[in-house]
């Protein structure tokens, strides 16, 4: 059995959890077994888990788990895995999943791969690939034990409607109170968080200062994109730290990455080069980023960005 933890922070199943369930089902098919999804506490949207591949949906409700603590969640997932005889456990490579993946592997003495991006193959060993060296290379890992723990990088596969609706079963677990108390969760509403964003508009030192970011926000808004920035931009406080992408920032792999006034240093590219399509806007035709782009515009960003925004708006109005 494959067990997928379908997380529901703030009470709602995320797209990443549907991706994980489809992924889990593909592993189950490979291994010739079933795929179970686990939800903890409130999980709006859990009626869809069957549709995306879960053969079984298990719900654990326990007030101790209302508060996220990697220790209580690990204990819960491990017990459910044990109860249903699961040997492969899948979580998303999210802030929650990253807190769990190492703990689970240690608890279960399992082989582990975090941030996996391919569906495993089972030819001469159970093999899964992930990006390594912050996106500079890909490594295929062979997991050598029957017990396996995998965290799935977001946006690696799309949720597929490969199953049908299943009923939700309740399961009890024994869990001791945790020692971490969550006081507050502060999220910016209205925008898709960077690691999950499909469209990203990013700007660098070419902006010359924080005052003119409105043109970036306007472009992002016209696309429904999330904004990002290069490291020096975050370091000098022009933009918040969580927008910093690259080797030492957030690694992303959106469908579209628009890089504006960013030179394309190797450390920047490391975190963004897995993007499906890259558009580069830079006034220097020699900027290294052009070697890693699908579409390039050699021009002054202050001139071209508003024009691009206009063109997107026009497109939106026709396709609305």
């Amino acid at each position: 059995m494959v067990l997928v933890f379908a997380e529901s922070p703030d009470g709602k199943i995320k797209k990443a959890s549907f991706e994980a369930v489809t992924y889990g089902k593909k592993i189950a098919s490979l291994l010739g077994c079933d795929c179970a999804a686990l939800i903890i506490g409130q999980a709006d949207g859990s009626d869809q888990l069957g549709l995306y591949g879960a053969d079984k949906v298990i719900q654990v409700s326990n007030t101790i788990l209302d508060n996220f603590d990697s220790q209580t969640y690990t204990a819960t997932i491990a017990q459910v895995a044990n109860n249903i005889g699961a040997q492969t456990i899948v979580v998303g490579h999210s802030s929650t999943g990253r807190s769990l993946v190492g703990r689970l592997a240690a608890k279960l003495e399992a082989a582990v791969i975090s941030g996996a991006k391919t569906v495993p193959t089972n030819d001469g060993g159970f093999k899964v690939a992930k990006n390594v060296f912050s996106g500079k290379a890909i490594a295929e890992f062979t997991l050598n034990t029957p017990m396996k723990v995998i965290s799935l990088m977001g946006n690696s596969i799309q949720p597929e409607e490969i199953g049908s609706t299943v009923a939700i079963e309740q399961m009890d677990v024994q869990v001791n109170p945790g020692r971490v108390t969550v006081r507050e969760r502060k999220t910016v509403s209205g925008t898709v968080p960077l690691p999950e964003a499909e469209l990203v508009v990013s700007a660098g030192r070419g902006m010359g200062g924080p005052e003119k970011w409105q043109i970036i926000d306007d472009l992002a808004n016209s696309l429904g994109a999330t904004t990002a920035c290069s490291r020096p931009v975050a370091d000098t406080g022009w933009r918040p730290h969580h927008e910093h992408v690259g080797q030492t920032g957030v690694a992303i792999r959106p469908n579209l990455y628009i890089a504006i006034g960013i030179s394309g240093a190797i450390q920047h590219l490391a975190g963004v080069s897995s993007s499906k399509t890259i558009v580069v806007i830079n006034k220097d035709a020699e900027a290294p980023f052009f070697k890693n782009a699908d579409y390039g515009i050699v021009a002054d960003l202050f001139d071209v960005v508003p024009k691009l925004t206009e063109a997107i708006k026009e497109y939106n109005s026709i396709n609305a």
Partner: protein
């Protein structure tokens, strides 16, 4: 306050990554190494700041061969009081975590700090593993850590925002950007580091739970199309019809 900081060795950030001809090994020829930036800039520096404020000691620990000593000495030069190297080739993540946990269990640390991930295999695994092996709370991707007595308040990165949480020592925490600012070791620090203790401890056991069986290049199938700045309509058309991303 006794703090343990786990440090690892990674290729420097501008390194070009290449492999052996059969793609099963990393080509380490000419590779330059550094201390993993998250361990150095955020975990170690925050540990030193906590020590400066609350008194105590900071120990750095690395699982690796003697060749790692220069990186460990750098940790001492930045300000750690002493260092431990568990003498082994790091194999699986769990192997490394077990070595660290075994050492930490006997030494009653209040806080175990490490970077949010290493920039080589980007595993983000060791912190959680050490915590699980030691039955400790674990807070990942923390961007701040303040102590009041033995109660810590931490901010940690979540999708699109921050979570504020509280935990009492002892605990394990992985540090992300925002936790501290990089410190460059000065001459005095470098001189003093030579005299600070670096204890070498034998490793226990070995395993190969998971292994890298092949490396691959990142597909570079991009060929650029230039578009005139006055023709953004064309770019939008291409993004829609050709790239199919909008």
């Amino acid at each position: 306050m006794k703090i343990l900081v786990c440090i690892s060795k990674t290729p420097e950030t501008t390194a070009k990554i290449s492999f052996s001809s059969d793609s099963t090994q990393l080509d380490t020829d000419g590779l330059q190494y550094i201390m993993n930036p998250y361990d150095e800039w955020y975990a170690l520096v925050r540990a030193l700041e906590l020590k400066e404020k609350h008194t105590g000691t900071v120990t750095v620990i690395n699982v690796g061969p003697a060749a790692n000593d220069s990186i460990i000495r750098k940790g001492l030069a930045i300000g750690a009081d002493d260092a431990v190297r568990i003498d082994a080739e790091p194999s699986s993540s769990l192997f490394v975590a077990k070595q660290i946990a075994a050492y930490a269990k006997d030494n009653a640390f209040d806080i175990i700090l490490l970077g949010k991930e290493s920039i080589d295999y980007n595993g983000s695994l060791i912190g959680g593993m050490v915590a699980e092996l030691m039955d400790l709370p674990y807070i990942s991707y923390a961007t701040s850590l303040e102590l009041e007595g033995n109660v810590a308040t931490l901010n940690r990165e979540i999708e699109g925002g921050t979570e504020v949480c509280e935990v009492s020592t002892p605990f394990v925490v992985s540090a992300a950007k925002g936790m501290a600012e990089q410190r460059i070791p000065n001459m005095r620090g470098i001189m003093m580091a030579k005299k600070k203790p670096l204890n070498v401890v034998a490793a226990d056991g070995s395993d190969n739970l998971e292994v890298v069986s092949a490396y691959n290049e990142v597909p570079k199938d991009r060929s650029i199309k230039y578009i005139d700045a006055d023709n953004m309509k064309e770019l939008v058309r291409l993004l829609h019809e050709e790239a199919k991303v909008i």
